[in-house]
């Protein structure tokens, strides 16, 4: 076990930030911590890194108790913070050298690792640039290089793609997967469910400081009743009466039907012919329609099902 967190409790005055939070992460995983802003993701990571004192619980990393002076554990951990933590007074190269130097004392080895980190994030052309001259995406890449240059076994990525353009975001996500392929265990926090779905092998959904559910994305999606969401864009001259809505509601596997303007939304549990049945019913009733969408459940649906609110609320 790379990380084992048990019954972690952290209070900020009257606010309960972590409420008996539990977590287990195996070696080689890309583990996602998914939750809305303020759910306790960063607090959990800060406790795991011993940046915050906690009121109750235990944290073990690499099967050893984590504490502020557990330097042998810290040596194998890389951290990429939510906010870019680099020195504006140093160049790109000097920044990476500094942070790598905190872990690696041998100068030759350090220089080699720094070069590798620069190649990894693609900042070769910006070595002598100062951070203020870099774009948001490049700055994020520098932040990552500073966190991973010493080749850690465990890397924490705390919302590394906030305020990053789509192209840079994709580069960052691909880079994280590459690090994982090279042997690093990744802990990735985000409130972007698409990202977590894209790269994480296992996911924990947290809210109000509690772990609500843990599993692979398929395991999590299997937990929800809604297996499919069918959206039909009806033409405006249609007359969709209450009787027809009831008819659709009575179809097999249908759990919920709603009409919002000219958009008809039908939620169904898992089934093979849901879409065809709904469309046939509309056709038999003489209704005409344009676009039709059929979506599998998302992590947002999972979150909605568990908490009764949207992930982005």
């Amino acid at each position: 076990m790379i990380i084992k967190v048990q019954n972690l409790v952290k209070r900020y005055g009257d606010l309960l930030a972590l409420d008996h939070f539990n977590l287990e992460i195996e070696k080689g995983e890309v583990f996602g911590l998914l939750g809305p802003n303020g759910s306790g993701k960063t607090t959990a990571i800060n406790c795991m890194l011993s940046l915050l004192k906690f009121d109750k619980g235990t944290i073990h990393i690499f099967d050893r108790n984590m504490s502020p002076d557990a330097y042998d554990i810290k040596r194998d951990i890389g951290v990429v913070m939510q906010n870019v933590a680099v020195f504006n007074e140093l160049t790109v190269l000097e920044n990476i050298q500094y942070f790598c130097g905190l872990y690696i004392t041998d100068k030759t080895k350090r220089n080699q690792l720094v070069d590798e980190a620069i190649d990894f994030v693609g900042l070769g052309d910006y070595k002598k640039f100062y951070p203020k001259k870099l774009s948001g995406g490049l700055l994020r890449r520098l932040n990552i290089a500073c966190g991973i240059a010493h080749k850690p076994k465990l890397i924490f990525f705390d919302e590394p793609t906030v305020a990053v353009d789509p192209q840079s975001r994709n580069n960052i996500l691909q880079g994280i997967l590459k690090l994982n392929r090279e042997g690093a265990t990744i802990v990735y926090t985000s409130h972007y469910m698409e990202e977590v779905e894209q790269i994480c092998s296992r996911i924990a959904i947290i809210d109000k400081g509690k772990t609500l559910a843990t599993g692979t994305k398929d395991e999590l999606k299997a937990m929800v009743k809604a297996g499919e969401k069918i959206t039909v864009e009806l033409y405006s001259d249609n007359d969709l009466n209450g009787a027809l809505i009831e008819k659709i509601s009575n179809l097999p596997h249908v759990t919920d039907v709603s009409l919002n303007g000219n958009l008809l939304t039908v939620r169904c549990t898992g089934g093979r012919h849901n879409l065809i049945r709904v469309l046939d019913t509309l056709k038999d009733s003489g209704l005409t329609f344009g676009r039709v969408y059929s979506e599998p459940p998302t992590l947002n649906d999972v979150f909605l099902e568990i908490t009764g609110k949207e992930l982005r609320d």
């Binding site: 810290k74 913070m81 933590a85 007074e89 130097g101 872990y103």
Partner: protein, 386 residues
């Protein structure tokens, strides 16, 4: 030693602002050394009194000799032997002293008589007293020569005038006090301004960088003890402050050369400057902990360096400051630094040795108090953050 190395890389990054302060300091210092004229120096410049001589003895040999002697040492204004015009001349200060040589002056003198001259002067005039002394000196010397030399009158007069005109060579066994002394005391006073500016700017920049929450967090994630980070930062601050101090002391030697080296004051001035360097370092540390914005930092650096300098007598001598300002400035370390410099520069510094030591100790107490306050605030923030 990553943190220690980083310390000087950051200092190097803000060298532009630091150089500006040092250039301002050195410019003022060089200007002071070239153009500073001590009030004490001008007090001792030889001056000539404006006098008039009325000779009623018809140019007798003693009257002639005295007249020549007075002409040599004073500015003689011609006046007619008219009491009204003499009164007018004194009233309008065209002369400060009128010597009236009475009839029978020479014969009376040679007969050993007293009260030889009549004088009319401006009331309470120091010039008049000075001219009185000259006349007494001349007549006293003439009487001495007349009694004991046995020389003919002409030779005797030459001997007296020659001896009175002789330059006296004075060799100072102690310090040489001149405008150079005041110049380098002023230079060392100015160090307070420069040191406050460069410490506040340099050390507080480092503290701000390392106390930035994201950087602090990132450093704490590394396998590096907080104590090690603190020790490296302290070592960097000590070396930086010591380098600034050394630079300013060396500049004093370059600017004032032998005069400062031979004055014997350099060690005391340097020790006092070192004490103030420690105070400035402490101020730099606390400013770095308290402020978060670089704009505020520049403003604080200016307010502290200029404010304290003006209030404590760095730019303007302390004796010209009002008692209210001085009363307030006593709670500022720069006051005690300037005061210590004044004692070192005074002619009787040995007599004020205890006060000098006390002034330096007070500065160190200030530094200690600020260090303790810095540690307290730092600890308070750390606890709050967790």
């Amino acid at each position: 030693m990553q943190v220690f190395n980083l310390y000087f890389k950051i200092i190097r990054a803000c060298k532009g602002a630091l150089i500006v302060y040092l250039v301002v300091f050195l410019s003022i210092a060089v200007f002071t050394s070239r153009f500073y004229v001590s009030p004490a120096e001008t007090d001792f410049t030889e001056t000539k009194s404006k006098i008039a001589i009325i000779d009623r003895d018809g140019g007798s040999r003693l009257a002639k000799g005295l007249t020549n002697f007075l002409i040599k040492n004073n500015t003689v204004v011609k006046l007619p032997d008219d009491s009204e015009k003499m009164q007018d001349a004194l009233f309008f200060r065209s002369v400060e002293y009128i010597a009236i040589i009475p009839k029978g002056f020479t014969s009376n003198f040679e007969a050993g008589g007293g009260d030889l001259l009549e004088t009319v002067t401006v009331p309470d005039s120091t010039s008049a007293r000075y001219v009185d002394m000259q006349i007494n000196k001349y007549l006293g010397a003439m009487r001495l020569a007349q009694k004991h030399s046995g020389l003919p009158y002409d030779k005797m007069q030459q001997l007296v005038i020659g001896s009175l005109d002789a330059d006296i060579q004075v060799k100072m066994n102690g310090r040489v006090y001149n405008n150079k002394t005041d110049g380098f005391i002023q230079y060392f006073n100015l160090i307070a301004y420069a040191m406050l500016a460069v410490s506040t700017l340099g050390i507080s920049t480092i503290m701000m960088v390392f106390n930035h929450p994201d950087i602090k967090k990132r450093n704490l994630c590394a396998p590096l003890k907080q104590r090690s980070i603190n020790i490296q930062l302290a070592l960097g601050s000590i070396i930086y402050a010591a380098a600034c101090w050394l630079f300013m002391v060396i500049c004093s030697i370059i600017i004032y050369g032998r005069s400062i080296l031979s004055s014997g004051m350099l060690p005391a001035l340097s020790i006092n400057a070192l004490a103030f360097t420690i105070v400035s370092t402490a101020i730099g540390l606390i400013v770095g902990i308290l402020i978060k914005s670089y704009n505020v930092q520049a403003a604080i650096a200016n307010i502290l360096s200029l404010g304290m300098s003006f209030m404590c007598g760095v730019f303007v001598p302390q004796n010209l400051l009002s008692s209210t300002v001085l009363r307030f400035s006593k709670i500022l370390p720069a006051y005690w630094y300037v005061r210590a410099n004044s004692i070192i520069g005074s002619q009787n510094s040995k007599g004020h040795f205890d006060t000098l030591v006390l002034s330096i100790i007070i500065q160190l107490v200030f530094a200690f108090a600020i260090f303790i306050a810095t540690l307290f605030i730092s600890k308070l923030r750390r606890t709050k953050a967790q």
